[in-house]
């Protein structure tokens, strides 16, 4: 019986050295990484060769480098190298150039972004908005689209975040004329008036705004609790500073509006974790105009991002074809395809059910497994991959398993579970590289 073993390329010495840059970045996308790895495997490692930017020379590199260093030091932790490599700078230049076109080529953008968006030019916010379809590809339409969406969100907030007292007051103003205001000095019985539409605070009617309000309070409390617990180590999200409080307020509003607009799914714990990176990136947009409307932008992008993963949060769908269990089964099947030995050891021998670790990996899109800066880079890949975020996510999960396969194969139930539930910090570009290779290696 021939066991499907790990392909040889995974065991190569390649992993201990940085990849040399490719000579021409504008080759066709798919073969880009393969060609790089094969060239590296053939020849010994070359020192990084400075790559001239493809278009007319721009004065970007020296300025960019300085900003890079500043941004790196302000980011919480970093992946792999501290200073940006020449590759990063060139990729950044290409991204900036792509973004400055009148009509943006999304395919090209995806290709560039999937290798990671450098922090230098503060473009991640715009790139993510384009990738999630919030910004149209035609630059000319940006201002009108943004204005439309932002006013829509404002409208949502006004409608949905009003408490019932205000609602009844507005209803009254529109239906009845103002009663004669009793002036100071008059005495006597206060006039009784009828209630509008049977609405009173203790109403138990299903359509009563008061009743709905009280039912929503539970959810609002839940959201409040979860928002306060989001990323407690980061000053941006947590603590007593003005910034943290206003950010928490914004996160709450977005989640409450989402819950009210989606009565089928409401709010489920974990949505706050998916919202957090989006908000962080958009809030740190260097463009002042954008940060003023960060809530609206984040709301729509959150809806878009969650649309692919909604079913994971719906408990009733747990066992269905689209639910989380089915996704985990898919993951398991993929693992068996790529690395049967590991699969067998994990699931059969040590009986580590993928639900024990993959549930959190998948539902929270890996935000809890790596430090914040690393998860942003992973999200660059998740959002930009043309296969779609879910497929990419599964590949990254498999890559995560494969990278620690030696330890897993040597471990028993307890140690394996411990390892997978506290995934060790790793070189992210390395991880994404492996994940990408899994695409080209898969059976179909």
């Amino acid at each position: 019986m021939v066991k499907k073993r790990v392909p040889d390329w995974l065991n190569s010495s390649l992993w201990s050295s940085p990849h040399p840059p490719s000579p021409s970045p504008y080759d066709d996308g798919e073969d880009y990484r393969l060609r790089r790895s094969s060239s590296a495997a053939e020849s010994t490692v070359q020192p990084p060769v400075p790559v001239p930017p493809p278009s007319a020379t721009r004065p970007e590199p020296p300025k960019v480098e300085i900003r890079d260093r500043m941004n790196d030091s302000s980011d919480n932790g970093g992946s792999g190298s501290g200073t940006p490599s020449v590759e990063d700078i060139s990729r950044q230049a290409q991204l900036v150039q792509e973004l400055s076109r009148k009509v943006i080529n999304v395919g090209e953008l995806r290709r560039l972004a999937s290798q990671g968006i450098p922090d230098g030019a503060g473009i991640r916010s715009t790139v993510w908005k384009l990738l999630l379809g919030y910004l149209p590809v035609d630059r000319g339409l940006w201002s009108s689209e943004l204005a439309k969406k932002r006013s829509q969100y404002k409208h949502f907030k006004e409608e949905l975040l009003m408490n019932p007292s205000e609602i009844t007051r507005r209803l009254e103003k529109s239906t009845s004329s103002e009663n004669e205001e009793s002036k100071c000095g008059t005495r006597g019985l206060l006039p009784r008036s009828e209630i509008t539409q049977g609405e009173h605070p203790l109403s138990l009617g299903k359509t009563s705004i008061w009743n709905q309000f009280f039912q929503d309070t539970e959810i609002i409390e839940q959201i409040d609790r979860d928002v306060k617990r989001t990323h407690p180590g980061m000053h941006f999200f947590s603590g007593d500073s003005q910034l943290a409080k206003s950010n928490q307020e914004a996160l709450k509003n977005i989640l409450i509006v989402f819950a009210k607009l989606n009565p089928g799914i409401r709010y489920v714990q974990g949505m706050n974790e998916i919202l957090a990176p989006l908000f962080y990136v958009f809030r740190n947009d260097p463009n002042e105009e954008n940060t003023a409307f960060v809530e609206a932008d984040t709301f729509f992008c959150f809806v878009e991002l969650l649309s692919g993963f909604r079913d994971h949060f719906c408990q009733q769908l747990d066992n269905s074809v689209v639910g989380i269990r089915s996704t985990i089964t898919k993951l398991s099947r993929l693992l068996k395809e790529h690395d049967e030995e590991l699969w067998r050891h994990l699931e059969v021998t040590t009986k580590v059910n993928p639900q024990f670790y993959a549930f959190r990996w998948i539902t929270l899109l890996l935000t809890q497994e790596f430090n914040f800066a690393d998860s942003l880079i992973i999200w660059d890949t998740l959002l930009s991959d043309p296969e779609g975020p879910l497929e990419t996510l599964l590949r990254v999960c498999i890559a995560m398993l494969i990278l620690v396969r030696r330890r897993l194969l040597a471990g028993d139930f307890t140690s394996n579970l411990k390892l997978l539930q506290h995934y060790p910090s790793t070189n992210i570009s390395h991880l994404l590289y492996v994940a990408n290779k899994l695409r080209t290696q898969s059976a179909y």
Partner: protein, 190 residues
């Protein structure tokens, strides 16, 4: 938006066994922030029941209350409004607006809640508003003959109060409301 429940004169278990079922079904915990009770509960079990609806409970002593340690009058501030509670049997003539107005000026409150007459009334005079939530159980009264169970829920929102009056008439709960605003003129000490 603060919800304050005002009720009293239940006379459980001397004159009435319990609150009407329709009232009880509406009074669920979690909705109301404060309870003001004019007194004459009369037994401890009623006190405990009211605490389950809302932990912030203010009671003034009625003449039949078995708990002797409730105060005769009580004042509290909710938002922009000062509220006062008193059972009302101390203020004679019972239910008279002028005498109650005197008490209101004494306590220096915007809204005075009293009971004893077992009849819902809401009066306005220069110093403020006097509300009588009536008897929540519709208990027998020596003053009035026709007693309908009633209580009051106040929705205090900045300078505006909406008073919802809940009455049980012929077995059905009828709700009315009364609106009033507090004038923002500050009181000048005479």
């Amino acid at each position: 938006m603060v919800l304050v429940l005002a009720l009293g004169d239940l006379h459980i278990s001397h004159r009435a066994p319990d609150l009407p079922a329709k009232f009880k079904s509406m009074l669920v915990p979690g909705k109301i922030q404060h309870i003001i009770c004019t007194g004459n509960l009369c037994i401890k079990e009623v006190h405990d029941y009211l605490r389950t609806i809302c932990p912030d409970l203010h009671i003034a002593r009625g003449e039949y209350d078995e708990e002797t340690r409730y105060p005769e009058t009580k004042t509290l501030t909710i938002g922009q409004f000062k509220l006062g509670v008193c059972h009302g049997h101390q203020v004679i003539p019972w239910g008279d607006l002028d005498s109650l107005a005197m008490l209101q000026r004494q306590l220096d409150v915007d809204i005075l809640v009293t009971g004893h007459t077992h009849q819902f009334t809401a009066y306005k005079h220069e110093a403020g508003v006097v509300i009588n939530p009536g008897s929540a159980t519709g208990a027998y009264s020596s003053i009035t003959y026709d007693v309908n169970p009633s209580f009051v829920l106040m929705d205090i929102d900045a300078l505006r109060v909406v008073v919802y009056v809940y009455e049980l008439i012929d077995g059905e709960v009828k709700v009315d409301k009364i609106d009033f605003k507090k004038t923002t003129t500050t009181q000048v000490a005479h």
